[in-house]
């Protein structure tokens, strides 16, 4: 190829370079073309080749472009666009959006111009010929129901006559007063005087609590009475009077003491009613609802309100359902008062309390505090005066079930038995003949009767004090107390060393064994003002008087240093073991026995069962859905040794079912098996010795449902008063729940028809 190519080119070149050039002969002879000609030709060739290549390139490019076009039509155009425009500008769009915003803002201006300039005078007239008065509107308070759905508290509508005043003229007012005076049996002058004293208010109260014929009169003569309207007010009513009065509490005005909380902190109005005690106070925030406002628009000419608008409307408070069983509560209250009135101890009984709990949920089924009070006395005008002396002197304002700790006596024995077993003071096999009396140091202490041979359970059943003195003394490592000897500290240590170490440890163990069941600590029941129980220790430096024992400090000190300084005596722990050196409230005792019954779960007692949305219902039925349901709250799981717990429970079963049991007589003939414990504590009231009658119980023995604690200071032995009340409460519970009893003895869940006239509801006025 090169040869051919070269020859051809040479020929061409020859033609082209025909004119010739003066070169050397030699070169002319050998070759007719010079080197320069050759270069020229080479260049021309290259040029042609480049041209061809370019043409080819263009062809290829157009093919590629065609391909891309083709691809673009298949939907991938965006790729090409972005390759051409790597960054898109937003400027145009930004301006378009600005244009739209500008237009809409301009339309606002136009609209304003129309309203303010074109229609302005019309609106100005409209605004200035009407007057708006704003009056706060109190919300209806939530209602309270018992666990069976019975209504226990509600707001009763009360009509008042008010005068909405604005630009009032005196002549017109005088005319109004003249019309009203005869209907309300007053002089028109007194009406005018009343108006003048309230001149500064937008709404003047003319008459409160007006009757229906007066309401009708005002409605009929409305056109002659400009500005006068009938206003709805409310009054708190407790339809069952003294029933569960301490639980419900009552409402009252905001006082100077509560002002800063309600008015400044919560923003209440000064004329709002708030819960003063009980559930009314505890759940005031749920019951209260929220205040509304009423805009009353008058026209300027007449004084007639043009329209009345709620802005905002008041929101009623929630309805509450309690765990309290109204039937059981009523029967218990009546039973307690009639029992006391018939009792030989009537003169010494000043107060009493009874509590029944559901052992599995902590629900308070009944909570009675004697003497009773009727919350209506505080809320219905004119009633308080009649009862002021009674309320001030009887102690009825105190809720004895939660605020009045007293000596529990032997009811603490089941707890102490478990503690004794846990620390080895006794074993499940312990059994011996208890002496009637023993010396403890220098003192002689005896049982109420000789009990003979007892084991752990029987010691609870017969309530042997000496057996439990020994449990206490063993816990404190004070050995050798017997009918003939007062005993001595273990290991022959000095008395003070023993006090600070073994005694302090033993007493702490004993008290802590009670404390963990809820005794001596707040149960957390949802009522205001709960008081916790107390522990005491005898102090040799103070003539062996009982002084408060700080259990928490003792526990801490013993844990840290192994000792806790005190100046006590072995008698102190012996008496502690039988419940004479501590004070507990009935609610604490109820939580304690409930914890024994349910196997060691300390559940917080509670009174609120469910919250229902606002509404003027007269009963809670199955159709209503609660907005909130209260769940049981387990405060602690005691993890008790089942064997020990079972021994204590057996002992308590014996109390009610063994003929030797201290409450056997009380529970004779019961169709169910109860377990209980009596307590008879020595107390002094105004220097007079008497006994505190205490009883705790749960039933049925197997699968327990309810736990009861009854305390009647001054009521004799535990079995004499408290146990009888407890028996009646448990009977009523099972009769009402249709268990154990034959159908003929079943009771309904309604509050007994004769309740309002019963002693319990009526006997507490004159006293």
């Amino acid at each position: 190829m090169p040869k051919w190519g070269k020859g051809r080119l040479q020929r061409t070149k020859k033609d082209n370079d025909w004119s010739g050039s003066k070169r050397s002969n030699k070169s002319r002879r050998n070759s007719r073309f010079s080197d320069k000609d050759l270069d020229d030709n080479l260049q021309r060739f290259n040029r042609i080749r480049t041209e061809v290549n370019q043409q080819l390139q263009i062809g290829m490019n157009s093919v590629r472009a065609g391909m891309e076009d083709f691809q673009a039509r298949r939907g991938r155009r965006h790729e090409r666009i972005t390759r051409q425009k790597p960054k898109r500008g937003h400027k145009a769009r930004v301006n378009v959006i600005y244009g739209l915003v500008f237009l809409s803002f301009t339309s606002l201006i136009f609209r304003m111009a129309y309203l303010q300039i074109v229609k302005g005078p019309q609106f100005r007239t409209q605004a200035s010929t009407t007057i708006t008065n704003t009056v706060p509107v109190l919300p209806p308070r939530g209602r309270i129901f018992d666990s069976n759905g019975t209504l226990l508290a509600y707001d009763q509508p009360v009509y008042s006559l008010v005068l909405m005043q604005s630009n009032t003229n005196m002549q017109q007012l005088q005319a109004t007063a003249d019309i009203l005076a005869p209907v309300f049996n007053v002089t028109s002058a007194s009406i005018m005087a009343n108006i003048n004293t309230q001149k500064q208010y937008a709404v003047i109260k003319l008459f409160k609590n007006i009757n229906e014929s007066q309401v009708a009169f005002v409605t009929e003569h409305q056109s002659e009475l400009p500005g006068v309207t009938v206003e709805l007010d409310s009054e708190r009513i407790y339809p069952y009077g003294a029933l569960a009065g301490h639980v419900l509490g009552y409402v009252g005005p905001i006082t100077t003491q509560t002002m800063s909380y309600y008015v400044n902190q919560l923003g209440y109005l000064r004329n709002q009613q708030v819960g003063e005690t009980g559930i009314e106070n505890e759940y005031n925030n749920l019951l209260e609802g929220s205040v509304g406002q009423q805009d009353i628009i008058f026209d300027k000419a007449g004084n007639m309100p043009q329209s009345v608008v709620m802005n905002p409307a008041p929101a009623a408070g929630d309805n509450l359902q309690l765990t309290v069983d109204g039937h059981l509560q009523a029967v218990t209250q009546e039973d307690l008062v009639s029992f006391i009135n018939k009792s030989p101890y009537q003169s010494t009984i000043n107060d009493a309390a009874a509590v029944m709990l559901n052992v599995n949920t902590g629900a308070v089924l009944s909570l009675v505090s004697y003497p009773y009070l009727d919350p209506n006395w505080y809320t219905v005008p004119g009633k308080l005066g009649k009862h002021a002396t009674y309320l001030a002197t009887s102690g009825a304002q105190q809720n004895n079930a939660i605020q009045n700790p007293n000596y529990p006596g032997s009811t603490v024995k089941p707890a102490n038995l478990i503690t004794g077993l846990e620390y080895g003071a006794i074993t499940p096999q312990t059994a011996y003949t208890v002496p009637y009396q023993i010396y403890i140091a220098g003192a002689i202490k005896h049982d109420d009767m000789p009990h003979g041979f007892v084991n752990d359970a029987l010691a609870v059943t017969v309530s042997s004090d000496v057996f439990f003195y020994n449990v206490g003394l063993d816990l404190a490592k004070w050995f050798g107390a017997s009918p003939s000897s007062g005993g001595a500290p273990a290991g022959g240590v000095s008395l003070q060393t023993w006090r600070d170490t073994d005694f302090a440890k033993g007493l702490t163990e004993l008290f802590n064994g009670e404390w963990r069941f809820g005794l001596g600590q707040l149960t957390g029941i949802d009522l205001p003002g709960e008081q916790q129980g107390n522990f005491f220790v005898m102090d040799a430096n103070q003539n062996y008087a009982a002084v408060p024992f700080n259990l928490a400090a003792a526990k801490k000190s013993i844990q840290k240093t192994g000792q806790y300084t005190n100046y006590s005596t072995p008698v102190s722990i012996a008496l502690s073991a039988i419940g004479q050196e501590q004070q507990f409230t009935p609610i604490e005792l109820a939580q304690y026995v409930s914890t024994i019954a349910n196997g060691g779960k300390r559940i917080q007692p509670h009174l609120l069962q469910a919250v229902y949305p606002p509404g003027l219902v007269n009963q809670i039925g199955n159709s209503q859905k609660p907005s909130k349901q209260v769940k049981p709250k387990v405060q602690a799981n005691l993890n008790l040794n089942p064997t020990y717990l079972s021994i204590a429970q057996q002992g308590m079963w014996g109390v009610c079912n063994n003929p030797l049991g201290t409450a056997y007589a009380d529970f004779q003939g019961a169709p169910y098996q109860a377990a209980g414990k009596t307590g008879t504590a020595d107390i002094y009231l105004n220097g007079v010795h008497m006994t505190n009658s205490v009883f705790i119980a749960y039933a049925p023995f197997k699968n327990p449902q309810v736990a009861v604690a009854v305390m009647i200071p001054g009521g004799g032995y535990g079995a004499e008063s408290a146990a009888a009340i407890a028996r009646n409460m448990i009977d009523t519970y099972f009769k009402e729940h249709h268990e154990f009893y034959p159908k003929s003895q079943w009771e309904s869940t309604t509050i007994p028809a004769n309740w309002l006239t019963s002693q319990a509801n009526t006997a507490f006025t004159a006293k």
Partner: protein
């Protein structure tokens, strides 16, 4: 130092300060001498404190590099969702669980949710813009819809319909910025057409529209009763003027009675007698309109127009698409809230609980607004074209 000030949009800042001053004056007028238990004590003074806090926070928003938000936008979004969920654990105020009570003040997370929504969306959109092969197909934007729906639904559940709608308005503004040009044009046309229908419908065919609401929306429970009432009120100004329509009726009366020059500060007939409900929050504009008249209320609208104009300028000079999207989100936020809030007082749109930016009483809203403005200033400060733009535009 001078360089720093040169780059700060002082006009924008002065506009906000002016609005804050108007706010305190108006809140004082709307609350003084009132016994309404819902009015917070010393509302105007509190608003002043909130303004000061907002002003300081704005400088913080200017000081940081807004581009760092892009790295942390998922965190912001996550925290926002947590807060929006947390409100359900607290007591309802006026029937809505919108607030988290903290010592001293209540936090309204939905106000800040609007900002985080803007930042998150802007970040996503900017990612697409800056990709080597940007993909603007509609289905690729589904994640953006998702990002908007979650806070939208949570806010709607509070219930705070107004706030939820603002979120949607923000989303729409940013979305049409992002879409392909064809879609943008189409959206604008649809928007304009919708607006015309919106204006013509109540004016020309109120009966028909009311029938639709009564027989379709209410019957099939598409809206809550009170929400349907608001639409009915808008369609028919005489609807339940002493019930559902009372608020707006009073609001319009107050605005109209302001006439050209207003009734004078603290001398408004409706304002001083508490005639307009919730006047210190949602209906604050009525206090300005009644006491300062057409003149005063025009100044307010004018100030808002300046505000939006400065934002628009910042958006158009920004060379960073992330920044542009943020600013346009903020534009959407302000423009919609201003139009809806002022418009509802005058029967231009159905009423919803939306605050008037910078003016309505409320700390969360105020601080959030100042942050939004701070971000815009920040973006403008960092856009290189700022110096040249003066010669070009």
């Amino acid at each position: 130092m001078l360089q720093f000030w040169k780059k700060i949009d002082l006009v924008l800042i002065l506009t906000c300060v002016a609005l804050s001053v108007i706010s305190c004056v108006a809140i004082y007028a709307a609350t003084h001498g009132k016994t309404n238990p819902q009015i917070p004590s010393h509302a105007w003074a509190k608003q002043m404190v909130y303004s000061a806090v907002g002003f300081v926070v704005m400088w913080l928003a200017i000081a940081i590099d807004y581009r760092s938000l892009r790295k942390m936008h998922w965190w912001l979004y996550g925290v926002t969702l947590l807060l929006l969920t947390a409100v359900f654990g607290f007591h309802a105020v006026n029937g809505a669980r919108s607030w988290i009570p903290l010592p001293g003040f209540s936090l309204q997370p939905s106000e800040f949710a609007k900002l985080t929504l803007i930042v998150t969306l802007a970040s996503l959109m900017a990612n697409t813009d800056e990709a080597e092969y940007p993909d603007y197909r509609i289905r690729k934007t589904l994640p953006m819809w998702g990002l908007m729906i979650v806070p939208f639904a949570l806010t709607l559940k509070e219930p705070a319909l107004g706030q939820a709608i603002v979120m949607f308005a923000i989303f729409c503004t940013m979305y049409i910025m992002f879409l392909r040009r064809t879609w943008f044009v189409l959206s604008v046309i649809i928007f304009v057409a919708f607006s015309i229908v919106f204006i013509v419908l109540p004016v020309e065919f109120p009966g028909l529209a009311m029938n639709v609401v009564q027989n379709v929306i209410i019957k099939h429970h598409l809206l809550h009763g009170y929400q349907a009432n608001r639409i009915l009120t808008w369609l028919d100004p005489s609807y339940q003027t002493s019930g559902a329509g009372y608020e707006i009726h009073q609001a319009q009366t107050a605005i109209g009675s302001g006439q050209v020059f207003g009734e004078g500060w603290l001398r408004g007939i409706e304002t001083s007698s508490g005639g307009v409900p919730n006047q210190w929050t949602d209906y604050i504009f009525t206090a300005i309109a009644e006491e300062f008249g057409f003149l005063g209320s025009s100044v307010v609208v004018l100030l808002f127009t300046i505000l939006v104009y400065r934002l628009i300028r910042a958006a158009s000079v920004s060379k960073d698409t992330f920044g542009t999207y943020i600013i346009m989100g903020v534009v959407g936020l302000f423009a919609f809230q201003v139009f809806e809030n002022i418009g509802m007082d005058m029967y231009l749109s159905p009423s919803t609980g939306i605050t008037l930016p910078f003016i309505s009483y409320g700390g969360s809203s105020l601080v959030a607004n100042y942050i939004a403005v701070g971000l815009a200033i920040n973006i403008r400060k960092r856009s290189p074209a700022f110096h040249f733009s003066k010669t070009y535009t």
